[in-house]
């Protein structure tokens, strides 16, 4: 048995921090995409004419019904074959973003439906059009009411983001693996990576709590 010695981590600390940085970048960009995409999908499913809604629903079904790993391979390796060459980072963001957008869409759709119709009437009575009502009254309330599960998805996204290491993005797990391949000390590096994920998670949770507190005030 080999003794544990976390001193082996020190020379690779910068590498791991850069990995953590890219994990944060991935989470924020894919998270933003999953949020905006979730709203967009929800609105399309609820309000768009069938000719638009059906294809979008089919896409959502594919994203929900197949593994994220497969989706990433398809976006990164598959699309090249038909002439769409996407850089790894962009492919990772799009893959993660769309995957979680579909889950967010489900939550937001339910949130939109749950907004009291009286709110719509209140908005219409002061002259809001359909779109203005949706944008200024219904969606903001739906988002506020569904903030906890959407936040939960964002935390899941942070953790799942490690999967993009398979298409060569130098995020945290990828960095750890690189260090391990040179030092053959998986335990120390995986534990350190886990600790860094934990810290990222704490930061994200603090941000979400701040948002929820802001939202609570208005209810």
């Amino acid at each position: 048995m080999q003794g544990l010695a976390f001193t082996v981590v020190a020379p690779y600390w910068d590498l791991l921090l850069i990995g953590a940085w890219w994990t944060a970048v991935l989470t924020v960009s894919a998270g933003a995409l999953s949020f905006v995409g979730g709203i967009l999908f929800a609105v399309i499913v609820l309000y768009a004419p069938n000719i638009v809604a059906y294809p979008v629903r089919a896409c959502m079904w594919v994203f929900m019904g197949t593994p994220l790993l497969l989706q990433l391979f398809l976006i990164y390796f598959g699309l090249v074959q038909i002439g769409i060459d996407i850089p790894a980072l962009a492919a990772g963001i799009v893959g993660l973003g769309l995957h979680f957008a579909v889950y967010n869409a489900d939550i937001i759709r339910a949130g939109i439906v749950a907004v009291d119709v009286g709110q719509t009437e209140g908005a219409r009575s002061i002259g809001f059009g359909k779109w203005q009502t949706l944008r200024h009254v219904v969606i903001p309330q739906a988002i506020r009411n569904t903030a906890p599960p959407i936040g939960g998805n964002l935390i899941a996204l942070l953790k799942e983001s490690s999967i993009v290491s398979v298409i060569g993005i130098a995020e945290l797990v990828h960095s750890a693996q690189l260090a391990i391949s040179e030092t053959f000390r998986p335990f120390e590096f995986y534990i350190t990576a886990a600790a860094l994920y934990y810290i990222l998670n704490l930061v994200l949770e603090a941000a979400l709590r701040l948002f929820e507190r802001h939202v609570e005030a208005s209810r």
């Binding site: 709110q119 009437e121 009575s125 002061i126 809001f128 059009g129 200024h136 309330q141 208005s218 209810r219």
Partner: protein, 257 residues
């Protein structure tokens, strides 16, 4: 002047308004009374076109719209007419994610494209009028029902509508809170605001309304000055209805008629 002529409204097979004709003079307050399900709310909602009449004519000031079964009315026309109206709902329907003053500003900024500073000024003046200026920055959820309804009245008045439509503005409120809303509506009435209100609240109707329309089963049974309709109605059906209203009011220790 507001003119409704021959308004019919059908929900599926259910004919809810059966040719209602009512004229409302500028500066007058009209109470819409009648048994539950008689069509009061539907008639109010036909004035601001939250419900599109199946047939008939709606006129507000210089704007007139005619409706025909199966006919389509352009959204722009609906919008133009609707902007001549403001509505106060039984459950207030303030936007919970906006502060009191933002609620009042919302229509001015989003619909009428006013500059925010100008909208804020007008909103503050209106909150002042309904006695809510001190709560301008409060969230609706932190206000009492009566306070919420007063903010809602300010919101409805913001775009300077020709008529204020009130659908049971006090019936979700405890008597004391209802009183502050009645007071505000009374003040507006004395300033010449044209109002149409559906109500079961005798205190509200008798204090503020000059005209009364008694609507039963989608038909105007009787209409006329409030004093006559409340104290000396002609129709048997009206007599019976007013009697039950008075009984209820007495039971609750409510207002005089």
């Amino acid at each position: 002047m507001i003119g409704l002529s021959n308004i019919e409204k059908r929900f599926g097979d259910n004919l809810v308004l059966k040719g209602v004709t009512v004229t409302i003079a500028e500066g007058s307050v009209t109470a819409l009374v009648g048994p539950s399900g008689g069509g009061k709310s539907t008639l109010l909602r036909c004035i601001n076109l939250l419900e599109i009449p199946t047939s008939g004519t709606v006129r507000i000031g210089d704007e007139t719209l005619e409706f025909h079964p199966g006919g389509r009315v352009p959204a722009r026309d609906i919008q133009r007419l609707r902007l001549q109206t403001g509505m106060v709902f039984q459950n207030f329907q303030l936007f919970p994610h906006r502060t009191a003053i933002e609620n009042v500003m919302e229509g001015l900024v989003t619909v009428l494209k006013w500059a925010p500073e100008r909208a804020r000024e007008r909103a503050l003046a209106l909150l002042e009028k309904v006695g809510m200026a001190h709560k301008a920055d409060a969230w609706p959820a932190t206000l009492s029902g009566g306070q919420q309804q007063r903010v809602a009245i300010a919101r409805a008045l913001a775009p300077s509508p020709k008529v204020l439509l009130c659908d049971e503005p006090t019936s979700a409120l405890d008597p004391e809170l209802a009183q502050e809303v009645v007071d505000v509506l009374g003040k507006l009435a004395s300033e010449g605001t044209t109002m149409v209100m559906a109500t079961h609240d005798l205190r509200l109707a008798s204090k503020i309304a000059k005209e009364v329309v008694f609507l039963d089963a989608g038909v105007v049974v009787e209409n006329g000055p409030a004093a006559v309709l409340f104290n000396n109605p002609e129709q048997q059906r009206t007599k019976r209805f007013i009697a039950t209203l008075k009984q209820e009011a007495e039971k609750e220790g409510g207002g005089e008629v």
